[in-house]
């Protein structure tokens, strides 16, 4: 009996698996890794709209992430209101950044856009680091309150994990709905050939800004989560290396693939830790693996594995027919 598996079934299965995962993990360090993965998934889901679908290079993701973290942290610090309102602040910040980054992206293309986004990321980091009165400067912001419902505070790694799982599921749902709709199609067409889209009556400027705004909202929300999770943030975290890591996660998962973001975030966050047994060499091995992946599997590692499986399956099928046929 063949059961047709719909995406909904996969989603429920993955969610159930994720919900049971903490029962097998005893070490708090690994829980921390999982929480990091969840935050990263949300960032990469957003980045996918800019770089994966619309094909615009973005090396300033750390700047978006930082602005989300700082806006939520500073809001809750100065107003003493709930971190949930901080989350709302982060979303508003995301909308503003979307407009802010979206308009330049209309006029600037290719390598120039890479440089503009790098410039954006660096300016954000340097401004945060050098306005100590507002942001605490290089000392950062301390004692950021964690999320709470009523008097119940999400303190331990496992508690935060379940909360973040809910956030990530919602984010994934939204990203999936957008990417699989006519918007996903339009974003991909903007990547392939923007002028043709114009003659179909589409205002490509407003579409590009929509893509940037969606991506920025995902980024700032993840930043807010990060701030209230760590309890302490400082500007040195939000540098070009972080932006680069996010693009790597996207590449490993496959540009344009929404489900790939889970795989990419997990691999790039967890693999370096798994390689620690190599001692001093783990970083260089990790970077070499990524570099080789970029050259040989540009469509992402998942697609490489599926292509391999298809080839093996085809060979097996051929062999079967050769023996059983005639």
């Amino acid at each position: 009996m063949k059961i047709k598996l719909k995406p909904l079934h996969y989603a429920i299965a993955t969610l159930a698996l994720a919900a049971f995962l903490p029962f097998f993990i005893t070490n708090d360090y690994y829980m921390m890794l999982l929480n990091r993965v969840l935050i990263n998934i949300i960032v990469v889901l957003g980045l996918n709209f800019i770089t994966g679908l619309t094909g615009q290079m973005n090396l300033g993701t750390a700047g978006i992430f930082a602005l989300g973290a700082y806006s939520s942290a500073l809001f809750t610090k100065y107003t003493n209101l709930s971190p949930w309102l901080g989350l709302v602040t982060a979303i508003i910040m995301g909308v503003l950044i979307g407009r802010g980054l979206g308009y330049p992206s209309l006029r600037v293309k290719g390598v120039y856009l890479s440089l503009t986004t790098i410039g954006f990321g660096e300016v954000v980091r340097l401004l945060i680091a050098n306005t100590p009165k507002l942001t605490g400067g290089t000392q950062g912001v301390r004692n950021i309150r964690p999320y709470h419902i009523g008097s119940y505070q999400f303190q331990t790694q496992k508690e935060m994990y379940y909360l973040f799982l809910v956030f990530t599921a919602i984010a994934f749902f939204c990203a999936w709905r957008i990417a699989c709709s006519k918007w996903g199609r339009i974003f991909k067409s903007l990547r392939d050939n923007a002028e043709a889209v114009e003659m179909s009556g589409v205002d490509i400027a407003s579409c590009k800004i929509k893509a940037f705004t969606v991506a920025s909202i995902f980024g700032t929300v993840a930043g807010a989560m990060y701030a209230h999770y760590m309890g302490y943030i400082n500007p040195s975290t939000f540098n070009l290396d972080l932006s680069t890591n996010y693009v790597i996660m996207l590449m490993v998962g496959g540009l344009g693939s929404v489900t790939g973001t889970i795989f990419g975030s997990a691999v790039v966050t967890i693999l370096p830790e798994m390689l620690r047994f190599l001692g001093n060499y783990y970083q260089i091995v990790f970077c070499s693996i990524i570099l080789l992946g970029a050259i040989f599997f540009p469509d992402g590692w998942v697609s490489a594995v599926t292509v391999l499986f298809k080839k093996v399956y085809q060979r097996a099928a051929k062999g079967h027919y050769a023996e059983g046929g005639e």
């Binding site: 330049p104 660096e122 340097l126 990524i290 050259i295």
Partner: protein, 288 residues
């Protein structure tokens, strides 16, 4: 007035450094279409090879060390070109090229850390001391930077205009297919271009030793500011690279007289963003 002049002179010296950075990545951009995000690490490798191996470990005399560093860096450049740049430039999206060069940079940084250790250091008696020009005290380093930079530019101009290989490089930069049809081995030419770029990187590395301590991140900021220099002066255009570098060096330093010193690093990025939005072809570039 004295301080302004001092700032101007150190600004010009830094400007020449930025100009050299812009030149070395413009060479690679013109011939491969790749933006080499690992260039700051290549500069660092040059500095480390010179300082750590030849000077500290082997205690050889400086001129010999310089020549040997050039040779090794040239080989490194050729290896990087054939192993990494050549496959990357054929990829369908420049996202992969960017990521590839960034990963290369990280690998180089890690290799440096593994081979030479993570502790920053410096070498003595290298470009140290001051000279008196009129009423000003100028560091020898600044003077040597200016002189060396000008020599490099002149040598590059002579090479590209009067040697067969140099002319071939200009052909490859303008039209690879036509160059190949004329019998130029494009892949080989790209190796030579990258080797030259790597040698210039090692020059930069040696020149900045008195300015920054030798560490894995010593060239990070000048790497990014070098990109700004190229854009502001005119992307892909060598005279533009020089003009852009000097512009950023001078403006950055003079800004310290007006703004709080902490904002110095932001100046170049703000200039970069303004130019990219308002006049992406830079001062000397052709308007698209």
């Amino acid at each position: 007035m004295g301080t302004i002049l001092q700032l101007l002179i150190s600004g010009i010296a830094m400007g020449f450094i930025y100009a050299l950075v812009a030149i070395e990545y413009t060479l690679i951009w013109n011939s491969t279409g790749l933006l080499n995000f690992s260039h700051d690490k290549i500069i660092t490798v040059g500095a480390y090879i010179f300082a750590a191996t030849f000077i500290v470990k082997m205690n050889m005399n400086k001129p010999l060390a310089i020549v040997l560093t050039f040779m090794l860096m040239g080989i490194l450049g050729a290896v990087i070109a054939s192993g990494i740049f050549n496959p990357l430039r054929h990829m369908r999206s420049n996202i992969f090229a960017v990521m590839g060069t960034m990963m290369l940079g990280r690998i180089l940084a890690e290799a440096i850390r593994l081979i030479f250790g993570p502790v920053p250091f410096t070498i003595d008696n290298w470009l140290s001391g001051t000279i008196r020009i009129g009423t000003l005290m100028v560091t020898k380093a600044n003077v040597i930077i200016c002189v060396v930079a000008i020599l490099v530019v002149i040598a590059l101009q002579l090479f590209m205009n009067f040697t067969k290989v140099g002319k071939a490089m200009r052909c490859v930069a303008q039209n690879k297919k036509a160059a190949a049809l004329m019998g130029i081995n494009v892949a080989q030419n790209i190796c030579i271009t990258t080797a030259i770029s790597a040698i210039i990187c090692s020059v930069i590395g040696m020149l900045i030793i008195p300015l920054f301590n030798i560490s894995t991140t010593m060239a990070a900021s000048i790497g990014l500011k070098g990109f700004s220099a190229g854009v502001i002066g005119g992307f892909g255009y060598l005279p533009g690279a020089i003009l852009g570098g000097l512009f950023i060096g001078v403006v950055e330093n003079l800004a310290v007289a007006v703004l709080p010193a902490v904002y110095k690093d932001i100046v170049s990025f703000v200039l970069l963003i303004i130019f990219l939005l308002v006049r992406p072809s830079g001062f000397l570039g052709k308007k698209a």
